[in-house]
């Protein structure tokens, strides 16, 4: 019997209740085949309204000008860049789970990867809005790309990280979308096979690209998936690295720091996992997926949060230490100003939410408590938003010359645009949950123990 206990501990089944293949298909497919629960409609109403707020704010911004935001000299980058970095960061859990955890053979990823990858796409969509409107004349946002424009001869500055950002983010969005879609194909075919109406059969038939599940198909599919994972792995690092370059190549104390690339990447993964936990906790309860997304999955995600949160804390500590060690008065001032200056509250929100609160995850009781992880995951995202705010706004508000110091105050447009972006993100997310299988059925089936699988039929 001791052996059994050992196996349970070391090789715990990834799903509980020994579901058969058809049980998995049933639990996931029925969500998109039946009517949504009432809660979905209420939530959709709220998020659609918020999306409307976002659109209204953007319309106001575009027709009036950047002046409707609180940005001004010396704080020329404020909420919108904070929001951009925040949303780009949220997407990183999806890429990490789909690419790196696949290469590391972390099979628990199968229950959460679809969900997280979808979040990546929606987060990138939200993020892309901000730089596009920040250019002031969004109808000329395509000038960001090296394509011929009205003023021939004007080239983009290829040495600018803002330019690299355009490439990094668009590559990221493209590869993430490909990855997500490739993973969806077998499941889309399952939905096609189960379709009861002609319209569904045609739509899912087209989307599943003629997938019949033959051995040949699977062989190609597995290879494509592995190659995409290999291609996405550098993207997990590169995107936020280049975002960090936006700041670190400058000379502003608090921005110019060589630790920025790995520190930003860790922070991005940290916030991404927090968002996955926040939404997963709700989704698994509402749609009764507790047997597929088990406590083990949630606990693992919480452990990732604890680890990446510690890396972020390590970076904060290193920055403070080196600022002091450098003996450079501007460096030293910047960090004292961060902790004790006019924005001290933002700094302490950041430290409490990102470093102190996640330490609770050292306790298994908290790691496995749904209410606790829900609250902590939200706090982490609050903290990560403030981290970007602290880096961007606080550093700009007081740089070398005291005569050019200033204080940034957000306008209602700043705040409502941020709020509205959550609306867009959640609306897209709710639509995803409504129309596509939120758990990768085919991949979860691959992790099922054999005997249980043999008992049920394959659909």
């Amino acid at each position: 019997m001791a052996d059994l206990a050992i196996t349970r501990e070391l090789d715990a089944p990834l799903v509980v209740g020994e579901p058969s293949y058809s049980d998995v298909t049933e639990s996931v497919s029925r969500i998109v085949e039946n009517k949504m629960p009432r809660a979905w409609y209420i939530a959709f109403g709220v998020t659609a309204t918020l999306t409307g707020v976002l659109l209204a704010m953007l319309a106001y911004l575009v027709t009036t000008g950047i002046g409707v935001w609180g940005n001004n000299q010396p704080v020329g980058w404020a909420f919108e860049i904070t929001d951009f970095v925040f949303w780009i960061g949220i997407g990183h859990a999806g890429t990490l789970i789909s690419a790196i955890l696949l290469l590391l053979r972390q099979r628990w990823r199968t229950s959460i990867n679809r969900f997280a990858e979808a979040m990546t796409l929606f987060a990138v969509a939200c993020a892309a809005i901000f730089p596009a409107v920040h250019v002031g004349r969004p109808w000329r946002a395509y000038w960001l790309f090296p394509v011929p424009n009205e003023y021939l001869g004007i080239w983009q500055n290829f040495r600018s990280p803002l330019m690299w950002d355009v490439f990094a983010v668009s590559t990221y969005a493209t590869v993430s979308a490909l990855f997500w879609y490739t993973g969806l194909i077998p499941d889309l075919a399952t939905l096609r096979n189960r379709a009861k109406t002609k319209a569904r059969r045609i739509i899912f038939g087209i989307l599943s690209l003629g997938w019949r599940g033959s051995a040949r198909h699977w062989r190609h599919y597995e290879m494509a998936y592995l190659l995409l994972a290999g291609l996405s792995t550098p993207l997990v690092l590169s995107v936020h690295t280049i975002v960090s370059f936006d700041f670190a190549v400058s000379l502003i104390p608090g921005w110019h720091s060589t630790i920025f690339p790995p520190y930003f990447v860790a922070g991005a993964i940290f916030s991404g996992f927090a968002m996955v936990v926040t939404l997963m906790v709700i989704a698994r309860q509402v749609f009764h997926l507790e047997h597929l997304v088990t406590m083990k999955h949630l606990e693992n995600m919480n452990k990732v949060m604890l680890g990446t949160g510690l890396i972020v804390g390590f970076a904060y500590l290193t920055e403070f230490f080196i600022a002091w060690y450098s003996g450079n008065p501007y460096e030293r001032f910047t960090f004292i100003n961060r902790a004790l200056g006019p924005y001290w509250w933002a700094f302490w929100i950041m430290v409490s939410c990102n470093v102190l609160v996640p330490q609770l995850f050292w306790f298994k009781r908290i790691r496995t408590s749904i209410p606790a992880m829900f609250v902590i995951s939200i706090l982490v995202n609050v903290g990560m938003w403030f981290e970007r705010f602290v880096i961007i706004v606080v550093s700009l508000s007081r740089d070398f010359l005291p005569s050019s110091w200033g204080h940034f105050r957000p306008t209602y447009v700043d705040i409502l645009t941020l709020t509205g972006s959550f609306g867009l993100f959640l609306t897209l997310f709710l639509l995803f949950v409504r129309f596509l299988p939120m758990i990768s059925m085919s991949e979860v089936k691959s992790t099922l123990p054999r005997p249980a699988a043999a008992r049920g039929g394959e659909r």
Binding site: T241, V249, S250, S257, F260, P262, T318, W362
Partner: protein, 401 residues
């Protein structure tokens, strides 16, 4: 009725052949003696090259041992099964760390020769160094180093002991204990390796600072540690040890790690260089300026190609990672590059031109053979693999898809 019922599948002889062991010991002892003799001759001839050469050799071998400690903790934390059969070798490499506290003593005595900030007359003329004196002073330096050695040594010993206890029968408690110790251990390792990098290497140029420097040194250390584990296992294989327990599947995974860490090293090294180049602030660029002047430029180029492009290209194909001759070559090359890199980090402070001196070689041989002798001696005390580990069978069964 825990472990008694489970049978460990014995494929290899997990004890080293006594004759082989004696031969190894004699060879290493001879090398150590020779190395120390030459080194002593260099020291007594008053060569200015002694202390830098010694510091380099010491840091080189220590970073390898720290890389092995990183390996051990990483495997415990992630609950990996594939690495179990290789773990004892890593544990034993890490176990030489306590010895480094003794080997560090010459550096403590040579502080004024090594570090500008330890020379009162230099500090008196330099306001920046005066401002840093509360940190950069001999007493603080020594105390911090002692704290580092204590932490590393403690964790190396604890994890080794815990693992050895499994040999007589692994239990869940022991598996859990290893993971429990590794979590704080990893945090402390990150903090102390960073601190040691700042103290021992970054403060060689006491005006210069870079926040990522600790991670930069750590990435190289991890890579070197993994390469050393791979190379030692391959050497054992040639000697007829662990042939079935660590097979192509396990080497394949070790090769993947070498590839991944090579890329990670390049990522960190490039980020640091790029940001400093781009910022172009004299107090920061000075470090690279010193290291790209004259013949040092070629060494820098060698690092770019030799430490990144060559292993990247060589280790990319699946077949290469499963070809043990290629893998051995790559691991040895990576270890050589770790030396070249540390040479390039340390020596430009002392020498205007790049070039290997006889005392450098003697120091590497002396310190290396001493560490290796300790490793060899510790190796014989227990099985060559953690045979009682609960994941041992799983590790034996492991195959790459």
């Amino acid at each position: 009725m825990s472990s008694a019922e489970r049978t460990v599948q014995v494929l290899d002889n997990y004890e080293m052949d006594a004759r082989l062991w004696r031969r190894g010991r004699n060879a290493l002892a001879l090398l150590a003696l020779g190395g120390w003799a030459v080194l002593a001759a260099g020291y007594s001839s008053g060569s200015a090259a002694f202390y830098p050469a010694y510091l380099l050799a010491f840091v080189y071998w220590l970073t390898i041992a720290l890389g092995a400690l990183f390996f051990v903790m990483l495997q415990h934390l992630s609950g990996a099964a594939w690495s179990v059969t290789s773990r004892r070798v890593a544990e034993t490499i890490a176990l030489v760390i306590p010895l480094s506290a003794v080997l560090f003593l010459p550096i403590v005595f040579g502080l004024p020769q090594l570090y500008e900030w330890a020379r009162p007359e230099v500090v008196a003329a330099d306001p920046v160094l005066q401002a840093k004196q509360s940190y950069l002073n001999p007493r603080g330096f020594t105390l911090r180093a002692a704290a580092c050695f204590l932490i590393w040594g403690l964790w190396a010993v604890i994890l080794y002991r815990n693992s050895v206890k499994q040999d007589d029968g692994g239990t869940l408690e022991l598996t859990r204990a290893a993971a429990k110790w590794s979590a704080p251990g990893m945090i402390l390792l990150a903090l102390t390796v960073s601190l040691a990098s700042f103290d021992w290497l970054m403060s060689l140029d006491p005006h210069w600072f870079s926040t990522v420097f600790g991670i930069y040194i750590w990435s190289g250390s991890g890579l070197a540690g993994f390469a050393a584990i791979t190379l030692v296992l391959l050497a054992f294989r040639r000697m007829g040890m662990l042939r079935a327990s660590v097979n192509h599947e396990h080497y394949h995974d070790l090769g993947k790690w070498l590839f991944a860490l090579t890329v990670f090293w390049a990522y960190i090294a490039f980020s640091q260089y790029m940001l400093i180049w781009y910022g172009n602030i004299p107090e920061e660029t000075a470090w690279y300026h010193e290291r790209t002047a004259g013949t040092w430029r070629s060494v820098a180029a060698l690092l770019v190609f030799g430490r990144f492009f060559v292993p990247f290209a060589v280790l990319m194909p699946r077949a290469a990672k499963r070809n043990l001759a290629v893998l051995a070559g790559a691991a040895a090359w990576i270890l050589l590059m770790q030396y070249v890199e540390l040479f390039w980090v340390i020596m430009p402070v002392f020498r205007t031109e790049a070039g290997l001196m006889w005392i450098d070689v003697a120091a590497v041989a002396a310190v290396g053979a001493t560490f290796a002798l300790a490793f060899w001696w510790l190796l014989r005390r227990h099985a060559l693999a953690p045979v009682g580990d609960l994941r041992f069978t799983k590790a034996l069964e492991f195959t790459n898809v």
